[in-house]
């Protein structure tokens, strides 16, 4: 089910009406972000491998897969994700409010009270970002894609 996102870069909800909660929310968020910040399409195109996001307290997972032409959100884990984020809803809400610059490479949002709270959660394993060490740029880019901050 295609979303009417940006003209040349479509956001597709792979499972249509059967999409799980996380997939539906992430698809709406990315669709609206790409409409509001069209420059992020370039960022999406750079995500070569899938990224998964799991809401640990709602038992819902989705996979974000980007191609040069479109972005697909699927239920659960699809493909071989390079980065897997597992976080509570509160942490996902915090992550999506981090200010990121330079396509995510300048994560200034982490140097705020909210960002430090997230870093602390990562440090003690209450928020896991699998692939953060091996694919740090991908991890930062996906946070930048999801961020509601300009």
């Amino acid at each position: 089910m295609p979303h009417p996102a940006t003209r040349d870069y479509q956001v597709t909800l792979n499972d249509g009406p059967d999409a799980n909660g996380m997939a539906g929310v992430v698809a709406s968020l990315l669709e609206q972000n790409l409409e509001q910040f069209p420059a992020r399409v370039r960022l999406a195109r750079k995500l070569a491998r899938p990224v998964t996001i799991t809401g640990s307290d709602i038992d819902s997972t989705c996979t974000i897969s980007c191609s040069p032409y479109d972005l697909t959100i699927s239920n659960d884990v699809v493909g071989s994700p390079s980065v897997s984020v597992t976080a509570t809803v509160d942490q996902i809400l915090d992550l999506s409010q981090l200010k990121m610059r330079a396509g995510g490479l300048l994560p200034i949002g982490f140097f705020t009270r909210r960002g430090l709270r997230l870093l602390a959660a990562i440090a003690v394993g209450r928020l896991t970002v699998r692939g953060l060490i091996t694919h740090p740029v991908t991890a930062l880019r996906v946070i930048a894609l999801l961020s509601v901050e300009s």
Binding site: N20, G21, G24, G55, D59, L93
Partner: protein, 150 residues
């Protein structure tokens, strides 16, 4: 008073979920500590002059509109509804899921992220930035004598 009479009295005191009487009670509850907590949870309370809509899924007759001025609830109605173009954000869910949030079993934001309560109008950005305020707003319904059998 016999136990039977007490039970009957309790039943009659219950307010039908999303009835006008229920809305009046919900609005009246928003004072003091609750109003302060609600206001603090909003992104920009001073400039938050919005109307929110809540509808029971599949029951368009069960819709309420909450008018918030400067971060404070000033009006709540099920009968004198605002025009659609004045609705800032609209949430739709089953009564049982609203109840789950009202009774503190699951925060409202988790129900939205889990797809049980859907944002049918409004942006994810606003929903994310004000998610904690939504938790407070719906969480306060648990203090109302609600008849959830609608």
């Amino acid at each position: 008073m016999t136990v039977k009479n007490k039970k009957r009295q309790t039943m009659t005191e219950q307010l039908k979920f999303f009835s006008e009487e229920w809305c009046t009670a919900a609005a009246a509850a928003h004072h003091g500590e609750l109003a302060v907590r609600q206001s603090k949870a909003l992104k920009d309370a001073a400039n938050f002059n919005r109307v929110l809509a809540f509808t029971v899924a599949g029951r368009p007759d069960l819709t309420t509109h909450v008018e918030i001025v400067a971060g404070r609830v000033v009006n709540w109605t099920a009968t004198d509804l605002f025009p659609d173009d004045q609705i800032f954000a609209s949430f739709q869910g089953k009564a049982e899921h609203f109840r789950e949030a009202a009774e503190g079993k699951t925060p409202a934001a988790n129900l939205v992220m889990g797809g049980k309560v859907r944002l049918v109008k409004g942006t994810m950005k606003d929903a994310i930035e004000n998610a904690r305020a939504l938790n407070v707003l719906i969480g306060a319904w648990g203090d109302l004598p609600t008849d959830w059998d609608v």
